[in-house]
């Protein structure tokens, strides 16, 4: 069984097709990148896979559960870090983490929070109200909240959006440590991020999937020797 199996998944907003007949399978333990410019349909795809938005047509299964018919089951095994930071502003870092642990019915929320606070080096700020933290810290907390539930599938929607270079590199390290512990679907419009982190990358433009493969495979496919040129070639070849 694949972690995620997507067949002809489509999302229309009135006449506008945000995601167009997506076909994709993602293996267990894979760190999979959805790469595309703003408006390509990445967030819409993530929203459908995490049961936040109903597909107009097509099907998808997450860990063998249909995202429409078995959404209750899907919700138990996934976790999402949304494109915008999603924290309770007036709770402390620790309270945010323990709250999410309780929502997912984790036995010992305190111990789970201890563990994740250590993993993310959040000790220094654990008792600060989350709203008082910088954007970078808030984002780290937001991602830690997605991880405290030990999900089988983790969605990271633009995890490094708005972070400075140092914070971005730090987050990359965290994400790399998660590799192969769970299936991760990461969206980004930063080429170097997809290239640096992902096992495989799917390039999306205008809601359509244009190419899938490792960074090397995509460069070979496009006949280019750097990833940026390959991306531009693939995006333009498909009439972008």
């Amino acid at each position: 069984m694949e972690a995620i199996a997507i067949k002809a998944l489509t999302k229309k907003y009135k006449d506008f097709t945000a995601v167009d007949a997506l076909d994709l399978t993602i293996g267990k333990g894979e760190l999979f990148g959805l790469l595309g410019v703003n408006g390509a349909g990445k967030t819409t795809t993530i929203k459908m896979l995490s049961c936040l938005s109903k597909p107009t047509s097509g099907k998808a299964e997450v860990m063998g559960f249909d995202i429409v018919e078995k959404s209750d089951e899907v919700k138990k095994v996934i976790s999402i870090s949304t494109q915008e930071t999603a924290v309770a502003p007036n709770l402390t870092v620790r309270e945010n983490l323990e709250f999410i642990a309780k929502v997912y019915g984790i036995e010992n929320p305190k111990a789970a929070a201890d563990k994740i606070i250590a993993e993310f080096s959040l000790q220094e700020k654990e008792n600060s109200r989350t709203k008082t933290l910088s954007g970078g810290w808030q984002r780290k907390v937001s991602i830690a909240m997605a991880l405290i539930t030990s999900p089988q599938v983790l969605f990271l929607d633009e995890p490094t959006l708005g972070l400075d270079v140092l914070a971005r590199r730090e987050l990359w390290k965290v994400i790399e440590q998660l590799k192969s512990k769970m299936t991760i679907i990461l969206t980004t419009h930063y080429l170097e991020e997809a290239e640096a982190l992902c096992d495989r990358i799917a390039i999306m433009t205008h809601g359509k999937l244009r190419a899938v493969g490792t960074a090397d495979e995509l460069m070979k496919l496009a006949g280019k020797d750097n990833f940026e040129d390959a991306f531009v070639e693939i995006a333009e070849r498909s009439g972008n």
Binding site: L52, T82, T85, P89
Partner: protein, 253 residues
């Protein structure tokens, strides 16, 4: 477990905003004291007793509840825009978990607020030599339960329907309507005409009236008012739940 966790979070979120202390608890108390002082300067010959503590306390308590509505609206509209809720929509939280988790802490706060407002009223009554019966006060709080649920429902409905900027404005409109048409500052029964009719079609007068009857020891006289408020409570609660369920799918944004 999920309801408890979410309710705990909401109560923290509400109480850590110092404005909620100020308005929900402080404001009614300040109003009570202020109106009592004003009442003292009204000559007894004027025969104006609206501001006397036994008449005042029910109205001010309802006035305090309207602020709770504002905070319910602020909490939910803020939650919706912050994508914190989106994360929870993708979690095992159900619609029931969400709604109960919002209602329960707000109801607890509302009851505490009623107890404090009536408690301060009682102290003022003792000082002023006006008779206020504790049993009647407790009964008045019970008559306010449908109003409590209704006002919270209004707050959750506005918070679920409108943005962080629009929701407080709409709540202010309800606060004004409740205070003007609710008979908090005037004797609606003595007005007559179209205004009296409007007051009596809307629930606010009835919220105040039910509690006022109970304070006066005639809880039976307020039964019709309690029923009218209860009808509003049911409608508003259903609307709040419908809006919430709709919001749970990001397709409806």
């Amino acid at each position: 477990m999920r309801i408890k966790a979410f309710a705990e979070r909401n109560i923290k979120e509400l109480l850590r905003d110092p404005l909620s202390y100020l308005f929900c608890l402080g404001f009614p108390v300040v109003m009570l004291v202020l109106m009592t002082i004003i009442n003292k300067s009204i000559p007894p010959q004027a025969g104006m007793t609206v501001f006397r503590i036994d008449n005042l306390c029910a109205g001010i308590t309802v006035f305090g509840l309207t602020f709770l509505m504002l905070f319910a609206a602020l909490l939910t509209s803020k939650d919706r825009t912050s994508s914190f809720l989106m994360r929870l929509y993708a979690s095992p939280m159900t619609a029931v978990d969400f709604i109960a988790g919002y209602y329960i802490p707000l109801i607890i706060l509302a009851v505490i607020q009623c107890v404090i407002t009536f408690g301060v009223s009682f102290v003022i009554a003792v000082i002023e030599g006006v008779s206020l019966n504790v049993g009647n006060i407790l009964l008045a709080i019970v008559t306010l339960i449908p109003s409590i649920i209704m006002f919270i429902g209004f707050g959750l409905f506005f918070g679920g329907m409108f943005s962080q900027n629009a929701a407080p404005g709409l709540c202010s409109a309800i606060i004004s309507a409740a205070s003007i048409l609710g008979g908090i500052w005037m004797d609606v029964d003595a007005i007559g005409g179209a205004i009296e009719t409007i007051c009596k079609v809307l629930p606010f007068y009835h919220s105040v009236n039910a509690a006022r009857c109970a304070v006066d020891g005639n809880v039976g006289d307020g039964v019709t008012s309690i029923l009218i408020v209860s009808a509003y409570m049911v409608v508003v609660t259903v609307l709040a739940i419908v809006v919430f369920r709709k919001n749970m799918s990001s397709d409806n944004k």
